[in-house]
């Protein structure tokens, strides 16, 4: 019985209660008519009827009629709290329930015909982190792998014969966003023959317009050389064109804003790569191989770049070079000797100048007074030459 909210509701409820009480108390001889009580002394019917005993009083009915519980109260004789899941005492209750249910499903529908996994509808399954976030439990990776195996086996059931139960069970493991279903969107080429691409890196954003041409690059109205002082930045900005051998086949007009030069250069890399993709979609694998379609570098706090070892091989501009680590020390305390970046490309046209900042790589090798830079060169001879050069270039 619920408690009536309005006063009118309450009064009607009370009336009905009252009526039920009266009717239970008054015997058949006492009748209630129009709310007034009257005792009739005359028999209503003319003929004599055999005297019958009153029916037995049903005490249970009367007891049930009288509510002992107030409106809104709980009328419960037996109640106890029980766990909902049989895995209540396990650390991963929900996951265990899911897993056992899947196992049961597999056992039930083991004999349904399956198709090769490659022929099934392509589905992106939730990864461990997604699933952990969903169930909020510290699911073990090894157990989740086993679970996914069952999921994939169930997914192999022929789609026309797959029971609805299986479909709903698998739904828990599919990602909400299915990348395959979206299809590929190719940026259009506008009426001037331009394509547009956007890129972001650190705090920088860049947008590049690519049009067929002869290799001119304008960034914020300046040429590449004017805009980027560092050779590394210049190279990385047009890396997508460079890596695919399209440097002299397109003109770039780009805007870059926010952040520093490195960020802008890398943002431009992505922007130009995307714009190039719109012109030539077939270049996607090549660009992907060079990691130019996505910024795959670890974010801050991730694993640090490893220190290259002596004699380690590296490819630079399609050529294999041998690294030799030589430390050049110069006595003046300058963190960014600008001359180095200007001079090095002139001296070493073929080698890759590699500036390894000791702080960035977490190697505490610098002394407080002498700032050490490590330069990778391909030739000891040149290295000596460079050393002499630097020692002769002390600032006045």
């Amino acid at each position: 019985m619920t408690l009536p909210s309005s006063r009118h509701g309450l009064s009607t409820a009370l009336r009905s209660l009252q009526y039920r009480l009266h009717s239970s108390r008054l015997s058949d001889a006492v009748t209630a008519a129009n709310g007034t009580r009257c005792l009739s002394t005359e028999s209503s019917s003319a003929g004599l009827e055999p005297i019958r005993a009153a029916p037995e009083i049903d005490y249970r009915a009367i007891r049930d009629m009288v509510p002992k519980i107030p409106p809104g109260g709980l009328d419960v004789r037996y109640a106890r709290a029980m766990p909902i899941s049989p895995s209540y005492f396990a650390r991963t209750t929900r996951f265990n329930d899911t897993y056992l249910a899947l196992e049961k499903l597999l056992k039930t529908y083991e004999n349904l015909p399956t198709i090769p996994y490659s022929e099934t509808e392509r589905v992106v399954w939730k990864n461990l982190n997604d699933f952990r976030r969903n169930v909020g439990e510290p699911v073990k990776a090894s157990e989740y792998v086993k679970c996914l195996e069952i999921v994939k086996r169930l997914h192999q059931i022929h789609p026309k014969l797959m029971p609805k139960k299986v479909k709903t069970a698998l739904w828990d493991f599919t990602r909400s966003v299915q990348a395959f279903k979206a299809g590929e969107t190719v940026a259009p080429i506008d009426k001037f023959g331009r394509t547009i691409g956007n890129g972001r890196r650190k705090a920088s954003t860049a947008r590049a317009f690519l049009v067929e041409g002869n290799g001119e690059v304008l960034i914020n109205g300046k040429t590449l050389v004017e805009y980027f002082g560092r050779v590394h930045d210049r190279e990385s900005a047009v890396w997508a064109l460079h890596a695919t051998g399209r440097l002299d086949k397109y003109n770039v007009w780009a805007t870059a804003e926010g952040g520093g030069t490195t960020g802008q250069a890398d943002a431009l890399t992505l922007a130009i790569a995307k714009a190039l993709m719109a012109h030539e979609p077939a270049l996607k694998p090549a660009l992907r191989r060079g990691n130019r379609l996505r910024d795959t570098r670890p974010k801050e706090g991730g694993e640090k770049e490893a220190w290259p070892r002596e004699g380690e091989k590296e490819t630079y501009m399609g050529q294999e070079i041998v690294l030799s680590r030589k430390s050049i020390k110069w006595p003046w305390a300058s963190h960014e000797p600008p001359v180095l970046e200007v001079i090095l490309p002139l001296v070493f046209p073929q080698c890759k100048p590699y500036f390894c900042n000791n702080q960035a790589t977490n190697h505490k090798r610098s002394s407080p007074h002498i700032f050490a830079r490590t330069i990778y060169t391909n030739c000891t001879l040149q290295h000596n030459f460079l050393e002499n050069l630097f020692f002769n270039m002390q600032p006045s």
Binding site: P83, I84, S85
Partner: protein, 383 residues
């Protein structure tokens, strides 16, 4: 310098370039193995290979499309020929003991399940000497008569706990225990644990099991409504009986049970400490067959107890009472509702919408409390 650079550049290139193949072949000491091309086989061109691949894909797709119809035919055929052939009366199925666990065991069953095999004699725990029948081939042999007797006693305990609506927990966290504990928990309407026991899930349950979900059930195990507030504030539950299939690895659990006075049943091998559990079942705990058999008997006992409880409850016979927390919640809730209703009645009476007698009558109708208590409550209200 120019010459030097030239030498550096081009000299390296020459060295870096891989040696020509013909040269390598000349160096090789292995006899060249040339496959003689089948003169009748036509050379396969790239386009031809692609065409073949396409053809194969089409064929595969057609085969996949045919599958449902073929499966239906297969099923119909199976149905038709079901009654044909001979019938095997009995054959050994490894998971038979899980599918249909026995209600009781014979000594032969136990022997067949290798329940009598103990550990190497050097590994024994002398406290188990009364369960040990003898020594053979360097291992102790457990007395199966003792095993059977202890198993029946434990089964009685499980049945009784299930009959009194206790919460039973089956624990077995060795490799291969999962299907056993899951099945037995399913039979007995109990909980199972096949992973590591979280230390503190009994002694520190308010923290460890805080996120565990509960429901309130009545005598017929139907979920009751109206207990949301109770479930929000109630403490997590602890098991009333713990059945452990491998006590050797579960000391933290058994210790907690001891601290919380929760009875435990355990399979005690000759190397285990029998004092860790309340009700010992001396048997081999390393054989999955032995463990499955013993757990099966206990699961069946739980099932019997549960069925008996539900059957009695349907006839109005209930052997358990409300826990104190639930009782207190219901009383609190009802007294709140009662005072609210009385307040409304009072309000109606003040406004003259009820006659004097009527109000009193209604009050008595929905209260179990005496007149004095009502008056006291009304007095409290008016203050």
């Amino acid at each position: 310098m120019i010459i030097r650079n030239f030498g550096v550049r081009h000299g390296r290139r020459v060295l870096a370039a891989p040696a020509p193949r013909s040269f390598l072949r000349a160096l090789s000491i292995r006899t060249p193995t040339t496959t003689v091309a089948d003169p009748e086989a036509a050379p396969v061109s790239a386009t031809q290979a692609a065409a073949d691949a396409r053809k194969r894909a089409v064929l595969l797709k057609a085969e996949i499309d045919r599958l449902p119809e073929e499966f239906r035919k297969y099923e119909a055929y199976q149905e038709q020929t079901k009654s044909l052939g001979s019938k095997l009366k009995f054959r050994y199925l490894p998971d038979e003991v899980l599918k249909r666990p026995p209600h009781d065991v014979t000594l032969e069953d136990l022997m067949a399940a290798q329940a009598h095999m103990g550990h190497h004699t050097s590994q024994w725990n002398p406290a188990n000497s009364r369960y040990i029948y003898g020594e053979r081939e360097g291992i102790h042999i457990i007395s199966l008569e003792t095993t059977a007797a202890h198993l029946r006693r434990a089964a009685n305990v499980v049945e009784s706990v299930a009959y009194h609506a206790g919460l039973i927990l089956f624990v077995g966290n060795r490799k291969g225990h999962r299907p056993i504990v899951v099945r037995m928990a399913e039979l007995a309407g109990a909980c199972h644990l096949y992973q590591k026991w979280t230390p503190g899930a009994i002694t520190n349950k308010d923290v460890i099991l805080a996120s565990g979900e509960l429901r309130v059930v009545d005598e017929l195990d139907r979920t009751l409504d109206g207990f949301d507030a109770f479930l929000r504030d109630s403490r997590p539950v602890s098991p009333d009986l713990v059945i452990c299939l491998n006590p050797v690895e579960n000391y933290p659990l058994l210790h907690e049970c001891g601290l919380a006075s929760i009875p435990t049943i355990g399979i005690i091998d000759t190397d285990a400490d029998p004092t860790w559990v309340t009700y010992q079942i001396p048997a081999n705990d390393d054989s999955l067959r032995s463990v499955a058999l013993i757990a099966g008997v206990l699961g069946r006992a739980g099932e019997r107890g549960r069925q008996r409880r539900l059957a009695d409850a349907a006839e109005g016979k209930v052997a358990w009472t409300k826990p104190h927390a639930v009782q207190a919640f219901i009383q609190n809730h009802n007294s709140t509702c009662r005072s609210e209703a009385l307040a409304k009645l009072e309000e109606l009476a003040r406004e003259g919408k009820l006659k004097v007698g009527e109000a009193e009558e209604i009050k008595q109708s929905f209260t179990e409390e005496s007149e004095e208590e009502i008056k006291a409550q009304l007095g409290k209200r008016s203050e």
